[in-house]
Protein backbone atom coordinates (compact mmCIF):
# COMPACT_ATOMS: atom_id res chain seq x y z
CA UNK A 1 0.00 0.00 0.00
CA UNK A 2 3.07 2.27 -0.19
CA UNK A 3 2.43 5.08 -2.61
CA UNK A 4 4.48 6.88 -5.19
CA UNK A 5 5.56 9.84 -3.12
CA UNK A 6 8.97 8.98 -1.84
CA UNK A 7 10.64 11.25 -4.37
CA UNK A 8 11.85 13.54 -1.60
CA UNK A 9 13.78 10.75 0.03
CA UNK A 10 17.42 10.09 -0.66
CA UNK A 11 18.14 6.39 -0.98
CA UNK A 12 21.74 5.30 -0.61
CA UNK A 13 22.68 1.82 -1.84
CA UNK A 14 26.37 1.23 -1.10
CA UNK A 15 28.03 -1.67 -2.90
CA UNK A 16 30.71 -2.47 -0.33
CA UNK A 17 31.52 -2.31 3.35
CA UNK A 18 33.73 0.77 2.84
CA UNK A 19 31.07 2.54 0.80
CA UNK A 20 28.53 1.80 3.51
CA UNK A 21 30.80 3.22 6.20
CA UNK A 22 31.46 6.34 4.15
CA UNK A 23 27.75 6.80 3.38
CA UNK A 24 26.84 6.40 7.05
CA UNK A 25 29.31 9.00 8.27
CA UNK A 26 28.27 9.91 11.80
CA UNK A 27 24.79 8.59 11.22
CA UNK A 28 23.25 12.06 11.47
CA UNK A 29 20.08 12.19 9.40
CA UNK A 30 20.54 8.59 8.27
CA UNK A 31 18.05 5.78 8.70
CA UNK A 32 19.59 2.36 8.17
CA UNK A 33 17.48 -0.28 6.43
CA UNK A 34 18.57 -3.90 6.84
CA UNK A 35 16.02 -6.51 5.84
CA UNK A 36 13.17 -4.03 6.12
CA UNK A 37 10.89 -6.16 8.27
CA UNK A 38 10.70 -3.58 11.05
CA UNK A 39 11.05 -0.35 9.08
CA UNK A 40 9.01 -0.93 5.94
CA UNK A 41 5.59 -0.96 7.66
CA UNK A 42 6.47 2.41 9.20
CA UNK A 43 7.51 3.84 5.85
CA UNK A 44 4.52 2.39 4.03
CA UNK A 45 2.07 3.84 6.53
CA UNK A 46 3.77 7.20 6.48
CA UNK A 47 4.56 7.04 10.20
CA UNK A 48 8.25 7.41 9.46
CA UNK A 49 9.45 9.87 6.87
CA UNK A 50 13.24 9.59 6.88
CA UNK A 51 15.29 12.04 4.85
CA UNK A 52 18.04 9.65 3.89
CA UNK A 53 17.77 5.90 3.91
CA UNK A 54 20.89 3.76 3.82
CA UNK A 55 20.01 0.35 2.39
CA UNK A 56 22.44 -2.44 3.21
CA UNK A 57 21.08 -4.96 0.70
CA UNK A 58 24.18 -4.74 -1.52
CA UNK A 59 26.84 -3.74 1.03
CA UNK A 60 28.36 -7.18 1.24
CA UNK A 61 27.79 -7.48 4.99
CA UNK A 62 26.12 -10.87 4.66
CA UNK A 63 28.98 -13.27 5.22
CA UNK A 64 29.48 -15.76 8.02
CA UNK A 65 33.02 -16.94 8.66
CA UNK A 66 34.69 -18.96 11.35
CA UNK A 67 37.48 -17.33 13.25
CA UNK A 68 38.99 -19.94 15.53
CA UNK A 69 36.87 -19.82 18.68
CA UNK A 70 34.18 -17.58 17.27
CA UNK A 71 31.80 -17.06 14.42
CA UNK A 72 31.92 -13.69 12.66
CA UNK A 73 28.44 -12.85 11.41
CA UNK A 74 27.90 -9.91 9.08
CA UNK A 75 25.19 -7.44 10.06
CA UNK A 76 23.28 -8.26 6.89
CA UNK A 77 23.13 -12.01 7.49
CA UNK A 78 19.54 -13.19 7.26
CA UNK A 79 18.02 -14.98 10.22
CA UNK A 80 17.17 -17.89 7.91
CA UNK A 81 20.92 -18.50 7.52
CA UNK A 82 21.59 -18.71 11.27
CA UNK A 83 20.16 -22.17 11.85
CA UNK A 84 23.55 -23.48 12.96
CA UNK A 85 24.41 -20.55 15.20
CA UNK A 86 25.48 -21.38 18.74
CA UNK A 87 22.74 -21.84 21.30
CA UNK A 88 20.87 -20.08 22.76
CA UNK A 89 21.03 -17.85 19.68
CA UNK A 90 19.73 -20.46 17.23
CA UNK A 91 16.58 -21.14 19.27
CA UNK A 92 15.86 -17.42 19.60
CA UNK A 93 16.37 -16.96 15.84
CA UNK A 94 13.90 -19.73 15.02
CA UNK A 95 11.24 -17.96 17.05
CA UNK A 96 11.46 -14.62 15.27
CA UNK A 97 8.45 -13.95 13.04
CA UNK A 98 7.90 -16.78 10.60
CA UNK A 99 9.88 -18.43 7.77
CA UNK A 100 9.23 -15.63 5.28
CA UNK A 101 10.17 -12.95 7.80
CA UNK A 102 13.36 -14.85 8.60
CA UNK A 103 14.18 -14.94 4.88
CA UNK A 104 14.40 -11.16 5.00
CA UNK A 105 15.20 -10.00 8.52
CA UNK A 106 18.85 -9.44 9.41
CA UNK A 107 20.73 -9.97 12.65
CA UNK A 108 21.95 -6.38 12.54
CA UNK A 109 18.41 -5.10 12.24
CA UNK A 110 17.27 -7.16 15.17
CA UNK A 111 20.19 -6.02 17.29
CA UNK A 112 19.38 -2.37 16.61
CA UNK A 113 15.61 -2.69 16.92
CA UNK A 114 14.13 0.06 19.01
CA UNK A 115 11.53 -0.98 21.56
CA UNK A 116 8.08 -1.43 20.06
CA UNK A 117 5.35 1.01 21.14
CA UNK A 118 3.77 -1.57 23.40
CA UNK A 119 5.95 -4.68 23.36
CA UNK A 120 9.59 -5.72 23.46
CA UNK A 121 11.65 -6.12 20.28
CA UNK A 122 15.14 -7.21 19.44
CA UNK A 123 14.91 -10.73 20.84
CA UNK A 124 18.40 -11.62 19.68
CA UNK A 125 20.09 -9.08 21.96
CA UNK A 126 19.80 -11.32 25.04
CA UNK A 127 21.27 -14.52 23.54
CA UNK A 128 24.11 -12.46 22.04
CA UNK A 129 24.83 -10.95 25.45
CA UNK A 130 24.70 -14.35 27.11
CA UNK A 131 27.20 -15.71 24.59
CA UNK A 132 29.56 -12.81 25.24
CA UNK A 133 29.27 -11.52 21.68
CA UNK A 134 30.92 -8.30 20.59
CA UNK A 135 29.68 -5.96 17.90
CA UNK A 136 31.91 -4.10 15.47
CA UNK A 137 30.42 -0.83 14.31
CA UNK A 138 31.35 2.32 12.42
CA UNK A 139 30.35 5.90 13.12
CA UNK A 140 31.62 9.00 14.82
CA UNK A 141 35.17 8.29 16.00
CA UNK A 142 35.64 5.48 13.51
CA UNK A 143 35.26 1.74 13.91
CA UNK A 144 35.13 0.09 17.29
CA UNK A 145 34.23 -3.21 18.92
CA UNK A 146 32.32 -3.47 22.15
CA UNK A 147 30.28 -6.01 24.09
CA UNK A 148 26.68 -6.22 22.93
CA UNK A 149 25.38 -5.26 26.38
CA UNK A 150 27.23 -1.93 26.12
CA UNK A 151 26.09 -1.38 22.54
CA UNK A 152 22.40 -1.71 23.36
CA UNK A 153 22.56 0.77 26.23
CA UNK A 154 24.07 3.36 23.91
CA UNK A 155 22.34 4.87 20.89
CA UNK A 156 22.28 2.21 18.16
CA UNK A 157 21.13 4.77 15.59
CA UNK A 158 24.51 6.54 15.88
CA UNK A 159 26.41 3.40 14.86
CA UNK A 160 26.49 1.35 11.67
CA UNK A 161 26.70 -2.30 12.73
CA UNK A 162 29.19 -4.16 10.52
CA UNK A 163 29.44 -7.56 12.11
CA UNK A 164 29.06 -9.56 15.29
CA UNK A 165 31.68 -11.83 16.74
CA UNK A 166 30.02 -14.69 18.61
CA UNK A 167 32.08 -17.10 20.73
CA UNK A 168 31.54 -20.76 19.88
CA UNK A 169 32.16 -23.92 21.90
CA UNK A 170 30.04 -22.87 24.87
CA UNK A 171 26.94 -24.44 26.38
CA UNK A 172 23.70 -22.51 26.01
CA UNK A 173 20.18 -22.67 27.39
CA UNK A 174 17.07 -20.53 27.45
CA UNK A 175 13.65 -20.32 29.07
CA UNK A 176 10.81 -18.10 28.02
CA UNK A 177 7.19 -17.09 28.46
CA UNK A 178 5.59 -16.66 25.10
CA UNK A 179 2.60 -17.84 23.15
CA UNK A 180 3.61 -20.84 21.08
CA UNK A 181 2.76 -19.48 17.64
CA UNK A 182 4.45 -17.50 14.92
CA UNK A 183 4.60 -13.74 15.35
CA UNK A 184 4.16 -14.04 19.09
CA UNK A 185 6.00 -11.25 20.83
CA UNK A 186 8.14 -12.62 23.63
CA UNK A 187 6.75 -11.67 27.01
CA UNK A 188 9.91 -12.62 28.90
CA UNK A 189 12.92 -14.73 27.91
CA UNK A 190 16.13 -15.61 29.72
CA UNK A 191 19.27 -16.65 27.81
CA UNK A 192 22.12 -18.39 29.57
CA UNK A 193 25.54 -19.57 28.47
CA UNK A 194 28.76 -20.84 30.07
CA UNK A 195 32.09 -22.34 29.11
CA UNK A 196 32.14 -26.12 28.92
CA UNK A 197 34.08 -26.29 32.20
CA UNK A 198 31.25 -24.50 33.99
CA UNK A 199 33.03 -21.17 34.26
CA UNK A 200 32.13 -17.78 32.80
CA UNK A 201 28.39 -18.00 33.47
CA UNK A 202 26.49 -15.27 31.64
CA UNK A 203 22.78 -14.54 31.64
CA UNK A 204 20.60 -11.95 29.93
CA UNK A 205 16.88 -11.22 29.71
CA UNK A 206 14.53 -9.97 26.98
CA UNK A 207 11.29 -8.25 27.85
CA UNK A 208 12.16 -6.69 31.18
CA UNK A 209 13.00 -3.22 29.90
CA UNK A 210 13.53 -1.23 26.70
CA UNK A 211 16.39 -3.49 25.60
CA UNK A 212 17.98 -6.73 26.78
CA UNK A 213 19.74 -6.62 30.14
CA UNK A 214 22.59 -8.67 31.54
CA UNK A 215 21.81 -10.41 34.83
CA UNK A 216 25.11 -9.80 36.60
CA UNK A 217 23.58 -10.22 40.03
CA UNK A 218 22.81 -13.84 39.22
CA UNK A 219 26.16 -14.45 37.49
CA UNK A 220 28.07 -13.37 40.60
CA UNK A 221 27.10 -16.57 42.34
CA UNK A 222 28.65 -18.72 39.64
CA UNK A 223 26.78 -21.77 38.41
CA UNK A 224 26.77 -23.46 41.80
CA UNK A 225 25.79 -20.40 43.83
CA UNK A 226 23.53 -18.54 41.41
CA UNK A 227 20.39 -17.17 43.09
CA UNK A 228 17.56 -16.64 40.60
CA UNK A 229 15.83 -14.09 42.87
CA UNK A 230 18.78 -11.73 42.53
CA UNK A 231 17.85 -11.24 38.87
CA UNK A 232 15.28 -8.70 40.06
CA UNK A 233 18.16 -6.35 40.94
CA UNK A 234 19.14 -6.00 37.29
CA UNK A 235 15.87 -5.09 35.62
CA UNK A 236 13.24 -2.37 35.43
CA UNK A 237 10.21 -4.03 33.90
CA UNK A 238 7.25 -1.98 32.81
CA UNK A 239 3.62 -2.71 32.05
CA UNK A 240 2.98 -3.11 28.35
CA UNK A 241 0.41 -4.59 26.02
CA UNK A 242 1.63 -8.13 26.71
CA UNK A 243 2.03 -8.30 30.46
CA UNK A 244 2.37 -6.29 33.63
CA UNK A 245 5.62 -5.47 35.36
CA UNK A 246 4.32 -7.45 38.34
CA UNK A 247 3.93 -10.58 36.22
CA UNK A 248 7.40 -10.23 34.78
CA UNK A 249 8.87 -9.83 38.25
CA UNK A 250 7.13 -13.02 39.31
CA UNK A 251 8.26 -14.98 36.27
CA UNK A 252 11.85 -13.82 35.96
CA UNK A 253 13.32 -15.92 38.82
CA UNK A 254 11.38 -18.94 37.54
CA UNK A 255 12.87 -18.58 34.06
CA UNK A 256 16.35 -17.99 35.44
CA UNK A 257 16.07 -21.17 37.49
CA UNK A 258 14.92 -23.14 34.46
CA UNK A 259 17.71 -21.83 32.26
CA UNK A 260 20.32 -22.63 34.91
CA UNK A 261 18.89 -26.07 35.43
CA UNK A 262 19.12 -26.78 31.71
CA UNK A 263 22.73 -25.62 31.67
CA UNK A 264 23.56 -28.01 34.47
CA UNK A 265 21.75 -30.88 32.89
CA UNK A 266 21.11 -30.39 29.20
CA UNK A 267 17.94 -32.12 27.96
Amino acid sequence: MSVAAHEEQDVLLPRSRDEAIAAFGTGAGITVLGGGTILMPELSAGRLKPDRVLMLARAGLDEIRENGTSLVIGAGVRLADLGDAPEPLATAVRRVGDPEIRNQATIGGNLCASPGPDFPRGDLQAPLIALGATVRSAGSGGERSEPVEDFVTGDPSARLVLELEVPTGRWGASASVRRPHAHAYTILAVSASMATDGSDLRLAVTGAGPHAARLRSVEEGGLAGADPERALNDIQPVDDALASAWYRQKMLPVLVARALSELKEPA
Partner: protein, 177 residues
Amino acid sequence: MNLTINGAEYELSSPPLATLLFALREEVGITGPKAGCNQGGCGACTVLLEGEPVRACLMPLAAVDGASITTVEGLGQPERLSTVQAAFHQEYGSQCGFCTPGMITATHALLERTPSPTRSDIEEALSGHVCRCTGYVKIIQAVEAAARGEVAEESALPGLADAQPGQPDVVIPGSPA
Protein backbone atom coordinates in the same frame (compact mmCIF):
# COMPACT_ATOMS: atom_id res chain seq x y z
CA MET B 1 14.71 -0.69 -11.82
CA ASN B 2 14.49 -4.04 -13.51
CA LEU B 3 12.69 -7.13 -12.41
CA THR B 4 11.94 -10.50 -13.92
CA ILE B 5 8.41 -11.40 -12.89
CA ASN B 6 7.03 -14.81 -13.76
CA GLY B 7 9.65 -15.11 -16.47
CA ALA B 8 8.98 -11.76 -18.17
CA GLU B 9 11.24 -8.70 -17.98
CA TYR B 10 9.89 -5.46 -16.56
CA GLU B 11 11.34 -2.00 -16.19
CA LEU B 12 9.80 -0.30 -13.18
CA SER B 13 9.49 3.36 -12.34
CA SER B 14 8.09 3.06 -8.81
CA PRO B 15 10.30 4.75 -6.20
CA PRO B 16 13.14 2.75 -4.65
CA LEU B 17 11.42 2.57 -1.27
CA ALA B 18 8.08 1.53 -2.66
CA THR B 19 7.27 -2.00 -1.59
CA LEU B 20 7.50 -4.85 -4.05
CA LEU B 21 3.79 -5.42 -3.37
CA PHE B 22 2.96 -1.89 -4.44
CA ALA B 23 5.03 -2.22 -7.60
CA LEU B 24 3.45 -5.57 -8.51
CA ARG B 25 -0.15 -4.52 -7.91
CA GLU B 26 -0.22 -0.82 -8.75
CA GLU B 27 2.47 -0.45 -11.42
CA VAL B 28 2.55 -3.79 -13.18
CA GLY B 29 -1.03 -4.89 -12.47
CA ILE B 30 -0.18 -8.33 -11.08
CA THR B 31 -2.83 -8.70 -8.38
CA GLY B 32 -2.35 -12.30 -7.19
CA PRO B 33 -0.36 -11.22 -4.12
CA LYS B 34 -2.80 -9.44 -1.80
CA ALA B 35 -2.55 -6.51 0.63
CA GLY B 36 -4.02 -8.02 3.81
CA CYS B 37 -2.16 -6.01 6.40
CA ASN B 38 0.82 -4.26 4.82
CA GLN B 39 2.88 -5.15 7.87
CA GLY B 40 4.14 -8.63 7.00
CA GLY B 41 1.82 -10.23 9.53
CA CYS B 42 -0.75 -12.12 7.43
CA GLY B 43 1.13 -13.80 4.57
CA ALA B 44 -1.28 -12.83 1.81
CA CYS B 45 1.43 -10.90 -0.08
CA THR B 46 3.94 -13.76 -0.20
CA VAL B 47 5.96 -14.10 -3.41
CA LEU B 48 9.05 -16.09 -4.35
CA LEU B 49 12.30 -14.14 -4.60
CA GLU B 50 14.85 -16.29 -6.41
CA GLY B 51 12.64 -19.19 -5.34
CA GLU B 52 12.47 -18.28 -1.66
CA PRO B 53 9.25 -17.06 -0.06
CA VAL B 54 9.30 -13.48 1.23
CA ARG B 55 6.76 -10.80 2.13
CA ALA B 56 6.32 -8.47 -0.81
CA CYS B 57 4.83 -5.81 1.48
CA LEU B 58 8.10 -5.63 3.42
CA MET B 59 10.49 -5.71 0.48
CA PRO B 60 11.78 -2.34 -0.71
CA LEU B 61 11.96 -2.29 -4.48
CA ALA B 62 15.59 -1.19 -4.56
CA ALA B 63 16.59 -4.36 -2.70
CA VAL B 64 15.25 -6.58 -5.51
CA ASP B 65 16.58 -4.65 -8.49
CA GLY B 66 17.66 -7.25 -11.03
CA ALA B 67 16.06 -10.15 -9.20
CA SER B 68 13.63 -12.83 -10.31
CA ILE B 69 10.17 -12.87 -8.73
CA THR B 70 7.49 -15.51 -9.00
CA THR B 71 3.90 -14.88 -8.00
CA VAL B 72 0.97 -17.31 -7.87
CA GLU B 73 0.15 -16.42 -11.46
CA GLY B 74 3.50 -17.83 -12.50
CA LEU B 75 3.05 -21.11 -10.68
CA GLY B 76 0.13 -22.38 -12.76
CA GLN B 77 -2.75 -21.25 -14.93
CA PRO B 78 -6.40 -22.24 -15.11
CA GLU B 79 -5.70 -24.37 -18.18
CA ARG B 80 -2.78 -26.05 -16.47
CA LEU B 81 -2.86 -26.06 -12.69
CA SER B 82 0.24 -26.97 -10.74
CA THR B 83 -0.06 -30.03 -8.51
CA VAL B 84 -0.30 -27.73 -5.50
CA GLN B 85 -3.05 -25.65 -7.09
CA ALA B 86 -4.99 -28.74 -8.14
CA ALA B 87 -4.64 -30.17 -4.64
CA PHE B 88 -5.99 -26.99 -3.01
CA HIS B 89 -8.91 -27.05 -5.42
CA GLN B 90 -9.65 -30.72 -4.92
CA GLU B 91 -9.33 -30.66 -1.13
CA TYR B 92 -11.33 -27.41 -0.67
CA GLY B 93 -8.33 -25.64 0.81
CA SER B 94 -9.83 -22.28 -0.06
CA GLN B 95 -13.07 -20.47 0.86
CA CYS B 96 -13.00 -16.73 0.23
CA GLY B 97 -9.72 -17.11 -1.63
CA PHE B 98 -7.92 -14.08 -0.21
CA CYS B 99 -5.20 -16.00 1.65
CA THR B 100 -4.91 -18.61 -1.09
CA PRO B 101 -2.24 -17.04 -3.32
CA GLY B 102 0.06 -16.72 -0.30
CA MET B 103 -0.67 -20.25 0.87
CA ILE B 104 -0.05 -21.71 -2.59
CA THR B 105 3.18 -19.77 -3.04
CA ALA B 106 4.56 -20.83 0.33
CA THR B 107 3.52 -24.43 -0.32
CA HIS B 108 5.35 -24.48 -3.65
CA ALA B 109 8.51 -23.34 -1.86
CA LEU B 110 8.04 -25.91 0.90
CA LEU B 111 7.62 -28.86 -1.43
CA GLU B 112 10.56 -27.72 -3.53
CA ARG B 113 12.93 -28.04 -0.58
CA THR B 114 11.05 -30.72 1.41
CA PRO B 115 9.19 -33.04 -0.99
CA SER B 116 7.84 -35.21 1.83
CA PRO B 117 7.06 -32.82 4.65
CA THR B 118 5.75 -33.95 8.00
CA ARG B 119 2.69 -32.24 9.40
CA SER B 120 5.03 -30.27 11.64
CA ASP B 121 7.04 -29.11 8.60
CA ILE B 122 3.83 -27.97 6.93
CA GLU B 123 2.62 -26.10 10.00
CA GLU B 124 6.00 -24.41 10.35
CA ALA B 125 6.13 -23.42 6.68
CA LEU B 126 2.63 -21.92 6.81
CA SER B 127 2.96 -20.53 10.35
CA GLY B 128 2.96 -16.94 9.09
CA HIS B 129 -0.13 -17.35 6.92
CA VAL B 130 -3.43 -16.33 8.44
CA CYS B 131 -6.69 -17.81 7.16
CA ARG B 132 -9.87 -16.54 8.73
CA CYS B 133 -12.27 -18.80 6.83
CA THR B 134 -11.16 -22.43 6.70
CA GLY B 135 -9.72 -23.26 10.11
CA TYR B 136 -6.59 -24.56 8.32
CA VAL B 137 -7.53 -28.26 8.37
CA LYS B 138 -8.27 -28.52 4.66
CA ILE B 139 -5.31 -26.36 3.79
CA ILE B 140 -3.00 -28.82 5.52
CA GLN B 141 -4.83 -31.72 3.86
CA ALA B 142 -4.29 -30.03 0.51
CA VAL B 143 -0.56 -29.69 1.12
CA GLU B 144 -0.35 -33.34 2.16
CA ALA B 145 -2.27 -34.41 -0.93
CA ALA B 146 0.03 -32.38 -3.13
CA ALA B 147 3.09 -33.90 -1.46
CA ARG B 148 1.74 -37.39 -2.08
CA GLY B 149 0.87 -36.48 -5.66
CA GLU B 150 -2.69 -37.64 -4.98
CA VAL B 151 -4.43 -35.20 -7.21
CA ALA B 152 -7.11 -36.09 -9.70
CA GLU B 153 -6.74 -34.94 -13.26
CA GLU B 154 -8.84 -31.82 -13.70
CA SER B 155 -11.24 -33.66 -15.98
CA ALA B 156 -11.96 -36.22 -13.30
CA LEU B 157 -13.53 -33.70 -10.92
CA PRO B 158 -17.25 -34.46 -11.22
CA GLY B 159 -19.84 -32.08 -12.50
CA LEU B 160 -23.32 -31.91 -11.00
CA ALA B 161 -24.68 -34.52 -13.41
CA ASP B 162 -22.34 -37.13 -12.03
CA ALA B 163 -22.61 -36.17 -8.38
CA GLN B 164 -22.63 -38.98 -5.87
CA PRO B 165 -23.99 -38.17 -2.41
CA GLY B 166 -21.48 -38.67 0.38
CA GLN B 167 -21.89 -40.71 3.54
CA PRO B 168 -22.18 -38.79 6.80
CA ASP B 169 -20.18 -39.86 9.84
CA VAL B 170 -23.09 -39.68 12.27
CA VAL B 171 -26.70 -40.23 11.28
CA ILE B 172 -29.32 -38.42 13.32
CA PRO B 173 -32.38 -40.68 13.59
CA GLY B 174 -35.31 -39.24 11.72
CA SER B 175 -33.15 -37.29 9.23
CA PRO B 176 -34.27 -37.42 5.61
CA ALA B 177 -32.66 -40.31 3.73
